[in-house]
């Protein structure tokens, strides 16, 4: 993969999660040592084994002001649209387009793309059918017969559209008239980070001149919590990645977005540059939906691919942001994979899910936005819930406190169901 010539840079970022609704807010929370994992408010979890999550506290109106749109999209879409439009605003691109001669705006829109990573849907959307199901059972007719016949009287005609996985792509496109290359990635946890990677590749490949990459998800719903808990993946408190006492993850909801373009274009329009995209790797362990290779070979292959595509060596990596979801096996195999590359010369490492929970499809891109801040500010946020590094993992260059850093290059890891491993490399500018 060639990366010579014009580097791809980030010129705008947007974020919303339990830790805040702006980049500075989330950054500050991350460095405060205080978790944004709190009592669940969206449903009564008082009898549940899992009572906490990291919920977005902004109201729907604060997320997307157009009330009409609220009826036709889901909560996850509100978050994605919010983050995308904040990132675009931050990049200055909408204002730049406004200043173009009118005759040039159409072509500019055709060269402006969107790549979105999404969780792909939730269980709750089907609950809209419950009143009808109750009625159908009581009807004395065949249940499905009654269900089908009365469907149109009981459920909104917009039901399907409300639940399309590609709604953020659709509505950010319509609202902003961005009409270029696009994709909607539904690769579970890896969706958001792959949106960043595919956006960068599309620009390199000449498919678009600028792309907004978005990741959004709202995994927090009772049925999802129930299944994750049954599978032994959930903790009852803020996650403690890499700790001896790590016992699972908790959900967070949220979204993040990044605007990518060529450095020459960014400079020509006087945009501020947040950092540079260097390269990425993506592979999988081919062991089914939940199992992980004990030697971490997927993690190490993803890192190798990322290093190779970036044209850098492992020793140039200044900081690692691990997936660190707080699950015993996931954390252990992740470290095994990292060690296969770095041996005993691991650069300082951190992980962020202790603060804003596991955002599933949005997790990797939220971490990327925060790592751009980390490089820019010369600070690596600590893992505040860390007490004792797991004896199966020690020694690890991690800290519970934020530390000063001169790192230029960050490696961000993101893992997901289906044994998917991704690695992204970014550089300070």
């Amino acid at each position: 993969m060639s990366h010579s010539g014009d580097p791809i840079v980030f010129t705008g970022s947007g974020i919303v999660c339990g830790a805040g609704g702006t980049v500075p807010e989330v950054w500050e929370k991350l460095n405060s040592g205080e978790t944004a994992v709190r009592q669940i408010s969206q449903f009564d979890a008082s009898h549940w084994p899992v009572k906490v999550a990291s919920e977005v506290t902004l109201t729907p109106r604060e997320l997307v002001s157009d009330r009409k749109l609220h009826k036709t999209i889901s909560r996850t879409d509100l978050l994605g649209i919010y983050a995308a439009e904040k990132a675009l605003e931050n990049s200055g691109l909408p204002a730049y387009r406004e200043a173009l001669p009118e005759g040039e705006q159409g072509a500019w829109n055709d060269r402006t793309g969107l790549v979105v990573g999404t969780g792909g849907g939730n269980y709750q959307s089907n609950y809209d059918f419950f009143p009808l199901m109750t009625e159908a059972i009581a009807s004395g007719e065949g249940e499905l017969y009654h269900f089908g016949r009365e469907l149109g009287n009981q459920v909104t005609p917009m039901w399907l559209l409300k639940n399309l996985p590609n709604n953020v792509l659709c509505h950010v496109g319509i609202r902003g008239q961005y009409r270029g290359t696009n994709a909607c990635i539904t690769n579970q946890c890896a969706s958001g980070i792959l949106a960043v990677a595919e956006a960068a590749c599309a620009i390199r490949n000449g498919e678009a001149d600028r792309i907004t990459a978005v990741g959004h998800d709202t995994p927090l719903e009772p049925e999802m919590v129930y299944y994750y808990h049954k599978l032994g993946l959930m903790s009852g408190r803020a996650p403690r990645p890499f700790d001896q006492a790590r016992d699972g993850t908790v959900f967070g909801e949220g979204a993040a977005a990044l605007v990518l373009e060529r450095e020459s274009e960014a400079r020509a329009r006087g945009a501020s540059i947040l950092g540079e995209f260097l390269g990425f790797g993506c592979c999988n362990e081919a062991m089914g939906i939940l199992d992980l290779a004990s030697d971490g070979n997927g993690v190490s292959r993803a890192i190798e691919m990322a290093l190779e595509s970036s044209g850098i060596s492992a020793s140039e990596v200044g900081v690692i942001c691990a997936h660190g979801n707080g699950n015993s096996t996931s954390d252990r195999t992740e470290i095994a994979g990292i060690r296969r590359i770095f041996g005993d010369r691991m650069p300082p490492m951190t992980a962020m899910k202790w603060c804003y929970g596991h955002l599933i499809a949005a997790s990797g891109i939220v971490d990327t936005v925060m790592m751009l801040e980390a490089l820019k500010n010369g600070v690596i946020p600590g893992i505040a819930t860390l007490r004792n590094v797991g004896t199966d993992l020690t020694p690890l260059p991690i800290s519970s406190d934020s530390v000063q850093s001169e790192a230029e290059i960050a490696l961000i890891l993101c893992r997901g169901f289906a044994g998917v491993d991704t690695a992204l490399l970014i550089r300070r500018r």
Binding site: M1, D44, H47, W48, G113, T118, G120, G121, Y123, N126, Y127, F129, F130, M133, T134, E135, G142, L144, F147, G148, R149, L151, V155, P157, W159, L164, N166, C170, G173, I174, G176, Q177, Y178, R179, G180, T181, N182, A183, I185, T186, N187, Q188, A190, S191, L194, N205, E207, E223, Y226, C282, C283, N284, A286, G288, I289, G298, R301, A418, G419, V420
Partner: protein, 433 residues
């Protein structure tokens, strides 16, 4: 942007499970004749729904198609189609991942949207919403039979997990979903991964099955489906003036992509070169693309340009052609804008006239159809066409399939949400060394 030599990508294997056949040969035979796969729904009692028919996959025996029983437990209906079609594609290509090549094999699939079986939803209803109102604590009941296996089946990348495991694909793996454009965009993604050198082989395709109570409900509510309940086999009539909605289908389509030079070196049968990919966003309305074809036009032009050809080299278009009023009009406007004076020379058909609309699988199945059209020199028929629509005056293949040499073929997939995908397939005889 400097013009780089693009890596050439060969299509060397095909696999299909469709409403008109559970493999490539049966499907192709039906498409040549324009035989319909639509009939009264048998998967469930659809008699109360506004549409009571669909294009179901018939007589599909998952245990025959998939040897690994354990894997089957994790597989939803659409995953089973996917495993069968992918297996056929790899066998057809005569090459599959080995210990030494597995990390150079990738997977890119268009997967259906997260849905659940009605029977799974019934259990949640019974325990947590019997009176119609959802009460989360009901799930905590000791008797609630919430099954983590079912959970695994409905995860966004569950199909991907089964495919990579079954075939030992350890490189790049991803799933995309842009509604009806998913299959096309997945193949476009696979092409890009090949070109940027991240993989040397890709298994790519799409799978979907929305022919269940909840799946069909969404489309019934929207009024998107044909309600010709008395004449299911004639209901899908793309470009016909009297068309009144699409026919919901199900199935899977898979392609094996391979580095061109390697394919030639091993003497593989090459169906076509996957030559170009284009995609755009209509940014117009959720369900429609603009009447003037704006959006699809850019996707088609990008695909042609990506393939390094002009519109003059396209002989056949496998249209998205859903048989809805708006889609067919918009797509024809786009074709007329792109092909201009040549529009009369380009044969157009929508094989949804036979198979119905396979949603996330549609673009992948139709990509395979383009490969077969090129290989056999036959443009399949646009079935059920009777009454011309002045807005859809393109050169449709009507009455019977058209025997003709096809130099390059174009396949369009236009999705809800406004994503448009176009792919260009080149006849291997047209590939200059």
């Amino acid at each position: 942007m400097s013009v780089k030599e693009k890596r050439r990508v060969a299509i060397t294997g095909l696999g299909l499970v469709t409403p008109v056949g559970n493999d490539v040969d049966t499907t192709w035979a039906a498409l040549k004749e324009g035989r319909s796969g639509a009939a009264r729904i048998t998967n469930f009692d659809a008699s109360g729904f506004s549409t009571t028919f669909g294009a179901e996959v018939k007589d599909f025996d998952p245990e025959k198609a998939i040897a690994d029983r354990k894997l089957l437990k994790y597989a939803s209906r659409s995953h089973r189609f996917a495993l069968a079609a992918a297996g056929e594609a790899l066998a057809d290509a005569g090459i599959s991942p080995t210990e030494s090549t597995s990390t150079r094999w990738g997977l890119a699939v268009g997967a259906g949207m997260l849905s659940v079986d009605y029977t799974d939803l019934q259990k949640v209803h019974q325990y947590a919403a019997a009176n119609g109102e959802f009460n989360a604590d009901g799930l905590l009941s000791h008797d609630f039979p919430g099954n983590p296996l079912a959970f695994c089946r409905w995860q966004a990348n569950a199909g991907q997990a089964l495919l990579t495991k079954q075939f030992g694909i350890r490189g790049y793996a991803s799933s995309v979903h842009t509604a009806c454009a998913s299959g096309g965009q997945a193949i476009g993604t696979a092409l890009k991964v090949m070109r940027r050198g991240q993989c040397d082989w890709m298994l790519t395709g799409g799978f979907d099955s929305m022919l269940n109570p909840l799946g069909i409900s969404g489309f019934c509510l929207l009024g998107a489906l044909s309600t010709d309940n008395e004449t299911p086999e004639r209901a899908s009539r793309p470009f016909d003036l009297t068309r009144n909605g699409f026919v919901l289908g199900e199935g899977a389509g898979f392609l094996v992509l391979e580095d061109w030079d390697r394919a030639v070196a091993r003497g593989a049968r090459i169906y076509a070169e996957l030559a170009g990919d284009g995609n755009s966003l209509s940014a117009y309305r959720i369900t429609d693309s603009p009447p003037d074809g704006d959006g699809p036009i850019q996707a088609i032009r990008q695909a042609l340009s990506d393939a390094g050809i002009t519109e003059n080299e396209i002989d056949y278009v496998n249209a998205h052609g859903t048989s809805t009023q708006m889609n067919d009009r918009s797509e024809c406007a786009a074709l007329k804008a792109v092909f201009a004076d040549r529009i009369g020379d380009v044969r157009v058909s929508s094989t949804k006239s036979s198979m119905g609309h396979l949603i996330a699988a549609a673009g992948a199945v139709e990509a395979a159809v383009c490969c077969l059209a090129i290989r056999y020199g036959i443009a399949p028929v646009n079935a059920n066409y009777e009454t011309p629509d002045p807005d859809c005056d393109v050169n449709l293949v009507i009455g019977q399939a058209s025997k003709q040499r096809i130099r390059t073929a174009l396949s369009n997939s236009l999705g809800f949400g406004g994503s448009n995908s176009s792919l260009v397939f080149r006849n291997p005889e047209e590939v200059k060394a």
